[in-house]
């Protein structure tokens, strides 16, 4: 499994767009549908994601335990019919905690990715469309963000703002918007030279109508790919930070579970195996889907 460097990916993508290698391709939705038929990994990813999301949404229906219910009579028990993934040092059911932890980990995947999608798109569009000073300021800022090691930057933000889940959203949004902005800017620069934009101008269509009706819709396929790849990245960042102790200590994400289980790893491996595998499967599923979508919209990776 390859973990994508967003900096590298967005840089290559932007360069290709600017070099006009990637044209707006009207057949995108068709080729995505085709991709799912051919690319089994992407389809598997999509199904897995659907299952994981359903599991998180319907968590209380899936398990009969409460995630915070302690049972001091059964602490650190290995997996059994009673406790599928065993219990932890407080006698809490690990399966239940993984199911409920999915809510938090998915939220940590989705929310900052959505924020950086909106923010990155708005800023990238402004930079590419308005040019000059606006472009300079926004893109220099993006370069600075992308030049920093992401994990370090996010940790600095968490240290500064404090360890809670809201600040986690902020930290992850800060490290993620820049790549999106870079791609949207490149695409905007290329699209605004297109003849259909010139045609719209010749008919008296206003600047911002052109931006929203022509440029944005043509950026959409790339944005979907970026969003899909941002989610697993955010889940990984959060897990790493929780493991390193700068996560929200009260938000029982999978990352925090691994971190709390690591002291018992030798005696009770299920404490880290269960949430660890949950992270692995989720991240893999999103990456499979994102890779498939990217291949489908990138004419140069199509076979």
């Amino acid at each position: 499994m390859k973990f994508l460097s967003k900096d590298k990916y967005t840089r290559t993508l932007s360069d290709q767009i600017i070099a006009a290698e990637i044209q707006p391709d009207e057949g995108v939705w068709m080729s995505i549908r085709h991709m799912f038929r051919v690319n089994r990994a992407a389809l598997l990813g999509l199904i897995l994601i659907a299952l994981i999301v359903l599991m998180a949404v319907f968590a209380p229906l899936i398990t009969r335990y409460d995630p915070n219910e302690m049972d001091l009579m059964s602490m650190n028990e290995p997996p059994s019919a009673e406790h599928w993934f065993g219990t932890d040092d407080l006698g809490q059911d690990v399966f239940t905690r993984v199911v409920f932890g999915g809510r938090i980990s998915l939220m940590i995947g989705f929310v900052p990715s959505l924020i950086s999608l909106v923010l990155g798109t708005a800023l990238g569009l402004m930079a590419g469309y308005m040019g000059r000073h606006v472009d300079n300021v926004i893109m220099r800022l993006a370069d600075v963000v992308l030049a920093f090691p992401s994990l370090l930057l996010a940790m600095v933000v968490m240290y500064t703002l404090g360890s809670n889940i809201l600040n986690m959203f902020i930290a992850l949004s800060i490290i993620n918007w820049a790549g999106t902005a870079r791609v949207v800017r490149a695409q905007t620069l290329s699209l605004k030279e297109k003849e259909f934009v010139e045609a719209a101008r010749s008919m008296g269509v206003s600047r911002w109508t052109i931006a929203f009706r022509h440029i944005l819709p043509n950026c959409l396929p790339n944005l979907i790919v970026l969003f899909t790849l941002d989610i697993p990245a955010a889940i990984m960042w959060e897990s790493s930070m929780s493991f390193l102790g700068v996560g929200d200590p009260n938000a029982a994400s999978w990352g925090l579970m691994v971190s709390q289980g690591k002291d018992y790893a030798y005696m009770c491996p299920w404490l880290i195996l269960a949430p660890g595998l949950a992270i692995l499967f989720t991240v893999m599923a999103f990456n499979f889907l994102g890779d498939g979508l990217r291949d489908a919209i990138d004419p140069y990776m199509k076979t």
Partner: protein, 318 residues
């Protein structure tokens, strides 16, 4: 006939690395209401640039455009928009000029939306269907996307869009050069029918002399950003006055075999570049009639009578 468009001393220079592209240098002309003025010239001579200058799509370096007697550069805001509604453009590339993410109906409706025409969306949709019918597209195709159409059909979409605002002048920038020859005639006939029905005025741009001849009342010949010759169509094709026009006509495949062996050696050698063009007449380095005067003095467009104008010190056949 009254004058619909007048262009006075249009100049467009593009600054580029290592110099300035003189895309359009001091071009003046007028178009009468209801006529078709052809504009021919080789690729890169500035035809599209000239069309865009007339439409105010790109800013002029200098010069003035009058539409319906009013100076475009003197107008601002809503007034300018209202006047510009009367001029529309049909683009060369039927693929690049339609947004791949918009349905045909939305593409044709876009100008109606921009100018708030029609009381409701339903009314605008009806107008779009009428337009589709007028250009020979089936109104059932309203919700289809451009990639589901052939090149010729796409160009019809572009024509319907240009007609939507009921313009008086349409600038046709090589509307058929991207199409198969068999389709070209259909589109040219459509343009000609529409002109008759609606009393349209065309500025018809092409590098293909046969296409220009088919539609135009008068023809302007352009090279390296300047006009060489303007004349009524048949007179121009029968007896070109400018050596460059003669060269262009000779380069067209000659259907009459008895004329194929005629001397065609006019204008040999390198085409001069629009970046830092030569002094005097821009052809003097490769024109067989060139003399010292041609090298020193730039020929102005002179009236030769019978509606003919020619920018040459030694016009042919005079």
């Amino acid at each position: 006939m009254s004058e619909l468009l007048r262009a006075e001393h249009l100049v467009k220079e593009f600054p580029v690395k290592g110099g300035v592209v003189h895309a359009v240098s001091d071009v003046s002309f007028a178009i009468q209401e209801g006529e078709t003025l052809g504009l021919v010239g080789e690729s890169g001579c500035g035809k599209s640039t000239l069309g865009k200058l007339v439409l105010d799509l790109i800013p002029l370096t200098s010069g003035k455009v009058f539409f319906d007697g009013r100076d475009l550069s003197a107008l601002r805001g809503e007034e300018l928009r209202a006047l510009r509604r009367g001029m529309q453009m049909i683009f060369q590339d039927p693929y690049a000029s339609l947004d791949p993410r918009m349905s045909v109906g939305r593409i044709i409706m876009e100008p109606l939306n921009a100018h708030h025409i029609g009381a409701s969306r339903a009314e605008r949709a009806d107008m779009v269907r009428v337009l589709m019918e007028q250009v020979g597209l089936r109104p059932e195709f309203y919700s289809r996307y451009p990639h589901q159409f052939s090149g010729g059909q796409r160009q019809r979409i572009g024509i319907a869009r240009a007609l939507a605002l009921n313009p008086r002048l349409i600038i046709c920038d090589e509307p058929v050069s991207a199409l198969d020859v068999s389709i070209q005639a259909q589109i040219l006939n459509l343009l000609s029918d529409l002109q008759r029905q609606r009393g349209l005025t065309y500025l018809f741009i092409s590098h293909d002399l046969n296409v220009v001849r088919y539609l135009s009342d008068r023809v302007m010949v352009m090279s390296l950003g300047q006009l060489c010759e303007t004349a009524p169509t048949e007179a121009l094709y029968a007896a070109p006055r400018h050596p460059y026009t003669r060269f262009l006509l000779d380069a067209v495949p000659q259907p009459d075999p008895s004329r194929r062996n005629e001397e065609r050696a006019l204008l040999t050698g390198e085409v001069s570049s629009p970046v830092n063009p030569p002094s005097g007449c821009r052809f003097h380095l490769r024109c067989p009639f060139a003399d010292e005067r041609c090298a020193a003095e730039k020929p102005e467009l002179k009236d030769l009578g019978d509606g003919r104008f020619c920018a040459c010190h030694h016009p042919l056949g005079v």
